[in-house]
Amino acid sequence: MRRAGLECLLLAWSGGLLGCWLVLYRLSYATESLAHGLLPGLVVATLIGAPLLLGGAVGLLVAAVAIAVAGRLPLVTRDGAVAVVVTTLFGLGVVLALSPESPPGIQNLLFGDILGVSDADLLWGAVLAAVLAVVLPVLHHRLLAAGFDRDSSSALGMRPALTEAALLTLLAAALLIAVQAMGNLLVVAILIAPAAAAAAVTNRLGAMMTASVAFAVSGCLGGLYLSYYAATAAGASIAGALAAIFVGALAVSR
């Protein structure tokens, strides 16, 4: 339980901070799609005994390439390509995960297993939190300018595509690390819900980031306690608590 709490804090920090940029860059849908698209990678890694991080990374790459290829087909729109590719990959992952031959426990890939978090998971969670704490402030002004007005930012001598690529790389890393604790279906909650809630209550970036991390921490720890005392599933309780905060923030902002 203490380890789960620590993992919660680490992921809440990362999700709360990174989520602000994802929301500002309107990448919420992309986040959800990538999270679901990497499921087959995780499942195959589990089945053949490879590290989950590696499997997830391969799964992400496959999803990204498939979306890029599908988006180029005539008669396929961009969001259509994302929807079709992600559903296909996710379905494939579920078929593999839920077949009778699959070892028990593989369902944890879908819903996470924050109570069974390993030392390696904690270490990776800490690495992610530290990397974001360093990289996001360094990139801050470029992220801000490119998200504000992409065209003008290139007139400012910036290459917004590079900045966006950096953000997507951070997103991929965060997904790979957080997906193991939160599960494939629920990881989006920790990346998007706190930042979306924060965006509803303030239009200052500093305040938004502070609020987002605070929301993420309270949602994660609150959900974890709830699951402990009410004997509900941990990941789902956390996602539920985060969603409740988002709804509360929306209500307050009106």
Partner: protein
């Protein structure tokens, strides 16, 4: 980093902030703009007239270095900065006026560096220059259209640019804001910058120093009093030009897409 007011002494060395000869520009297919030759001088306001799709934006992209010319010579000895239409930036975005002005310091430092104190001061003094010192910490989205336009001008000033490109800055402004912006544009030119303004307002263009008429080719360039004849305007705007009962002409409001 020099304050916006100081740079004019440096600017005296060279009269020209942009020198363009036989420019051809386009995006891979057929050229969308050709035969363009003009000079933008420091201290002058240059109106750029032309219908939508006439090549104004393309010309600005070339001057900014965003689009390489297909042929011809483009010399911009100093720095060029653009003031985009405010509706291109997002109003729900959590930035203050100062944050936006500070974006102008990005080209002045390596990518891993945060803004220095001097750069912060320069951004504040640029906001002061456009009469927005008191609103530096207000959210950009909460400002009026005219104020947002001036914040974007402050961002261009912070870049230490001697060639300012304003893309239809008067669109959507009320009379008072437009007047204020007009006065600011005059001051920017007087400070020793070349200011190029894309506009559809003929009387305004007539009151400035130079005019460049584009309609996929250069129709005319020079002193607006001699250049803006009915024939030139007809060639520039075609059917969008209307004759007013008082003998003047006006351009039909362009259809924005």
């Amino acid at each position: 980093m020099t304050a916006p007011g100081e740079r004019r002494r440096l600017g005296r060395f060279e009269r020209s902030a942009a020198l363009v000869n036989d420019l051809v520009a386009g995006y891979g297919g057929a050229p969308v703009l050709r035969d363009v030759s003009f000079e933008a001088r420091r201290g002058e306001r240059l109106a750029v007239l032309g219908p939508n799709g006439g090549g104004k934006t393309t010309l600005f992209k070339v001057l900014l270095g965003q689009l390489p010319p297909l042929a011809g010579v483009v010399e911009v000895p100093g720095r060029a900065a653009t003031v985009a239409q405010t509706d291109r930036s997002r109003l729900d975005y959590p930035v203050s006026a100062l944050d936006v002005a500070l974006m102008g310091t990005l080209p002045l430092r390596p990518w891993w560096r945060r803004p220095t104190r001097a750069q912060r001061r320069a951004a504040l003094s640029a906001l002061e220059h456009v009469d927005l010192a008191g609103r530096a910490h207000e959210a950009y989205g909460d400002l009026s259209g005219g104020q947002r336009q001036r914040v974007l001008i402050a961002r261009a000033l912070v870049q230490d640019a001697d060639l300012l490109l304003l893309d239809e800055p008067f669109t959507g402004l009320d009379a008072q804001s437009a007047q204020r912006l007009e006065a600011l544009v005059e001051r920017l030119a007087r400070d020793g910058r070349a200011v190029m303004i894309a506009t559809h307002d003929l009387p305004q263009a007539r009151s400035w120093d130079r005019v460049l008429c584009l309609n996929r080719v250069q129709i005319a360039f020079g002193d607006p009093r001699s250049v803006l004849t009915t024939d030139v305007l007809q060639a520039t705007y075609g059917g969008d030009l209307v004759q007013l009962p008082d003998g003047g002409q006006a351009v039909l409001p362009p259809h924005h897409h």
